[in-house]
């Protein structure tokens, strides 16, 4: 009866087919929550794992389909593929979808690690009841009752959802929400370690406080951008930037503050300090997921914001990025030399790699269809880095002693003789990190350097190679430790993993070699993703 005087409400038109992968993951996450409530404890773990994995697999399949169905658009002078969807909230374009693919693959590998139960004598790497204080009676009871936190799977799925949205968000508000959606579950997951819970909880606290802190900076940047352009949509902001309406101070401040939030996520200096602590404290599978996934999503978001929204102001932010890249490479590579804990070492190396990624970014080379652009080089680098990282952390879960994982490097001495396969794979990942030819890391370095040089930053390339020499020094020392040093005492015990972890290690190692020998297909993928659609 009121229909007469109400204006007709047109529902938003959502291209469900395009964003289906996101929806699938959402469904998986929600389903997981329901499973938590409905399935009896005994069978819950298996079901949860199955739900998550199946969801991811389905999403992967759908993503591939989506990628093929992306139609080319003429944007900004050269080819991009895809389109803006859901009322401008998401931009499902080439780079975005490729990032989805990466994230889903990383998630799949990480989920397999989550599901590993052989190492802890039939229990997962996560604490039974996070609510119980470490060493308390409740904890013992929980362990005895084989209680497990199966929530990690839905949590991880939500985080994954956040990452995927983050990478494709086409307006700043969506991006902020996605940022939180990916962060909050991770905060929690960091605190769920079964062993060394004090460290784990501390990691969670630090990650949470600092994460919240930095995301506020991002948000304020968003607010300023809105103040500058009067809109949250990247495209609109780009127009405002190029038309130079509004005060520059506002613009620059917003660029800076958003940069802070994003650089924090990719752990670039000086916003890196959380990385070592959190990587070390968090349960290793979570660290793997975080290291690979967060960096990927955040870096693509970074590229999207700066290339699409602030593309007009390139000459303002490039020098700063230049400097940050150098500092990050330098500090990451240098400090890793002094590390004695494998996980911290990997953390610092991930900082160094953030620096190398920034080199490619700083090149800000848009490229042409037949040349390596900044976006494609970064995408490739993220691929090889993520794979190697997950593989490395997977191996870390296997080198154990009485207290759980033996992460102190001295315990790794003589690993080469104890287990050639593990040591060999780890050495392979190290060589890949160091960028030795015939490993994927080399091609990645080549790509980002060429992007930087094409962008006219050849001195950055020279600094980059020198820094990778410094970094190599440490990776080499690890290999020395594993192969040339004789074990101290009884040496480390190498836990026999279930097929899950083995699969992960084998797959990542194989991929590292394959992408080093035949990088063509992946490069093709990264390259034909084209540029961001605005």
């Amino acid at each position: 009866m009121f229909t007469a005087d109400l204006p007709p409400i047109t529902g938003p038109d959502v291209e469900y087919s395009l964003i289906a992968p996101i929806l699938i993951i959402t469904a998986a996450a929600v389903l997981g929550t329901l499973v938590e409530a409905l399935v009896p404890r005994t069978r819950r773990f298996g079901v949860q794992a199955a739900v998550a994995v199946v969801g991811v697999l389905a999403a992967i399949g759908d993503t591939i389909w989506v990628y093929q169905s992306l139609d080319a658009v003429k944007g900004g002078g050269h080819s991009g593929r895809g389109q803006i969807s859901t009322e401008g909230a998401l931009s499902v374009d080439g780079p975005g979808v490729v990032t989805w693919l990466l994230l889903l693959v990383f998630a799949l590998l990480s989920f397999l690690l989550f599901a590993e139960r052989r190492l802890e004598g039939g229990l997962s790497a996560f604490t039974g009841r996070a609510a119980d204080a470490p060493g308390s009676a409740g904890e013992a009871e929980a362990t005895a009752a084989r209680i497990e936190h199966t929530e990690v799977f839905p949590l991880a799925s939500f985080a994954l959802l956040g990452m995927m949205v983050f990478a494709t968000a086409n307006d700043l508000l969506t991006m902020f929400v996605a940022l939180e959606v990916l962060s909050l579950p991770l905060y929690l997951m960091c605190g769920l370690a079964r062993r060394r819970r004090l460290l784990s909880q501390e990691a969670a606290l630090k990650y949470f406080l600092l994460g919240a802190f930095s995301s506020v900076f991002f948000l304020y940047g968003v607010a300023l951008a809105y103040g500058y352009a009067g809109s949250f949509e990247l495209g609109r902001i780009a127009v405002a930037v190029s038309s130079r309406t509004g005060s520059d101070t506002l613009l620059l401040a917003s660029i800076a503050l958003m940069a802070v939030g994003l650089l924090f996520k990719i752990s670039a200096v000086p916003f890196h300090s959380w990385t070592p602590d959190v990587y070390q404290g968090a349960p290793t599978p979570v660290t793997a997921f975080m290291a690979a996934g967060t960096k990927t999503a955040a870096f693509v978001a970074l590229l999207r914001v700066f290339f699409v929204a602030f593309g007009g102001a390139t000459w303002d932010w490039r020098p700063t990025i230049w400097v940050i890249a150098v500092v990050t490479m330098f500090l990451g590579a240098l400090v890793s030399i002094a590390q004695t804990d494998v996980k911290r070492m990997l953390a610092y190396s991930s900082i160094a790699h953030a620096g190398f990624l920034l080199v490619g970014f700083a090149g800000a080379y848009v490229g042409t269809t037949d040349r390596i652009s900044s976006v494609s080089s970064v995408l490739f680098y993220l691929t090889v880095y993520g794979i190697a990282t997950i593989g490395a952390f997977a191996i870390v879960t296997l080198i154990r002693d009485a207290g759980g994982e033996a992460t102190h490097l001295s315990r790794w001495a003589g690993l080469g003789k104890a287990s050639p396969f593990l040591a060999g794979s780890f050495a392979l990942f190290m060589l890949s990190f160091a960028g030795i030819p015939l490993t994927s890391g080399f091609i990645g370095k080549w790509a980002v350097f060429s992007a930087a040089w094409s962008g006219g930053y050849w001195p950055l390339v020279v600094i980059g190679v020198l820094m990778s020499a410094v970094a190599a020094y440490f990776y080499v020392r690890v290999i020395v430790l594993m192969f040339f040093t004789d074990p101290v005492g009884d040496g480390p015990t190498i836990a026999v993993p279930s097929v899950l972890t083995t699969t992960v290690i084998a797959a990542t190692a194989a991929a590292t070699v394959f992408l080093g020998l035949v990088p063509g297909p992946m490069l093709d993928l990264a390259q034909h993703a084209g540029t961001f659609v605005r």
């Binding site: 390596i372 015939l438 094409s454 020279v462 980059g464 190679v465 020094y473 192969f483 063509g520």
Partner: protein
Amino acid sequence: MILTVMAAVPLLGALAITLMPRGQSSATAVKVVAVAASVLTLVLSLAMMADYDVGRGGYQLTEKHVWIEQFGVHYALGVNGIGVTLILLTTVLTPIVLLAAWDDRLPTSRSVNSYLAWMLVLEGLAIGVFSATDAFLFYVLFEATLVPIYFLIGSYGGPQRTYAAVKFLIYNLVGGLLMLASIVGLYVVTSRQGDATYLIGDLSNLDVSTTTERLLFLGFMAAFAIKAPLWPFHTWLPDAAASSTPSTQVLMVSVIDKIGTFGMLRWCLELFPGASDWASPVVITLAVISIIYGALLAIGQDDLRRLIAFTSVSHFGFIILGIFAFTSTSTAGSTLYMFNHGLSTAALFLVTGIMIARRGSASIQDFGGVQKIAPILSGVLLVAGLSSLSLPGLAPFVSEFMVLAGTFSRSIPAAAVATLGIVLAALYILLMYQRTMTGPLKEGTEGVHDLKPVEVASLAPALVLIVGLGFYPQPLLNVINPAVDEIVSHVGVGDPAPKTPTGLAQQTEGGEH
């Protein structure tokens, strides 16, 4: 195709060995397989010689497949005279080395399988490096060679092995990474001018600004100068040599270090002739310093292995000197020198290796009067030593003199100073021989018994080649000359003409005095 096969055979051999069972029982079988693989490679390399048209010059036996389309990278192989020479060196030395390694005493709990496997891998990679005609491919293989040596030193070397291995790797990695910068630069440059490419054919007539050319050149040169090694980038070599097994020393110094000088010829001169010419004064100076410096330090050494390492520094000085003198004589001399130095150094390292193994010490002071109890050993050492001081009639003399003669016509001071090296060479070799072999027998030296047949068998080929090429180097020179002429003419400095050619005299017979 044959090139690929040649590179593949040792690699497959290595694979087979790693799959074979470890431990004493199968050790002999493993060794046999390893030697067989290397011999097969040698045979293949001779077959290659059969296919190779000596007279024609240019790159032959070429193969080319796209590898990484996006970077314009091809899997492209091909050899010219220089490549052929070095491949022959590799294929000849590897069986010798493997035979010599027959009863190396390895550190406890190290399997002979991986030891020999790494060596075969090294051979395969080396062949690839010497025949790559795509800069990217070359770089990849060039860097890849680091890994086998790294493990050979680190796993099987002496007490200092870890330090030496890391030092070796980092040193060479720094050079390699600087080269990577240039490799990337090449991509940027070529892709700006059209399709990105790394094929030497397309790169050799690149038009770039002088500055860019020089920067790119420096990147390449850094890698090669460290690898060669050129003073002052040499300090990794003595350590590496002093803490690795004889076979490793040979493969490292005789074969792999040649990649440095080979690279200067193949890549620096062909890709950046202008920059090479621009840099030649500095390089020549450094080369001359290397010659004298290396020789003097060799005199000052007490460790046989370090001594030989420093002699190599001196010899590499000659090679580099010849290359950057840009005369067809000196350049051909340098190429021949690479081969000869490979042989003579191999002989030296192997025979001293035997001495060290039997005496249990590498210190010259611990030897004395060995000649009396091991005449054949001392004889072999003397011949190897004489070849190292480039005595006429032995192979190295020919190459060394060609280098000097060519350099003399380009720069008299450089040649003059370099020639002083022959006196110092006599000193470091003969003093070493005098202290170890002559005089009354030192106590503790009794254990140094004479060479066994297998050892003679492994050394004989090298010695025969040293003598043979001393009197008749022409077969090799015929292979080398066309390639060298192409390079020299490409650099475009040209041979300096004799000031008063022979013809002139006849007219002005008894002319002005």
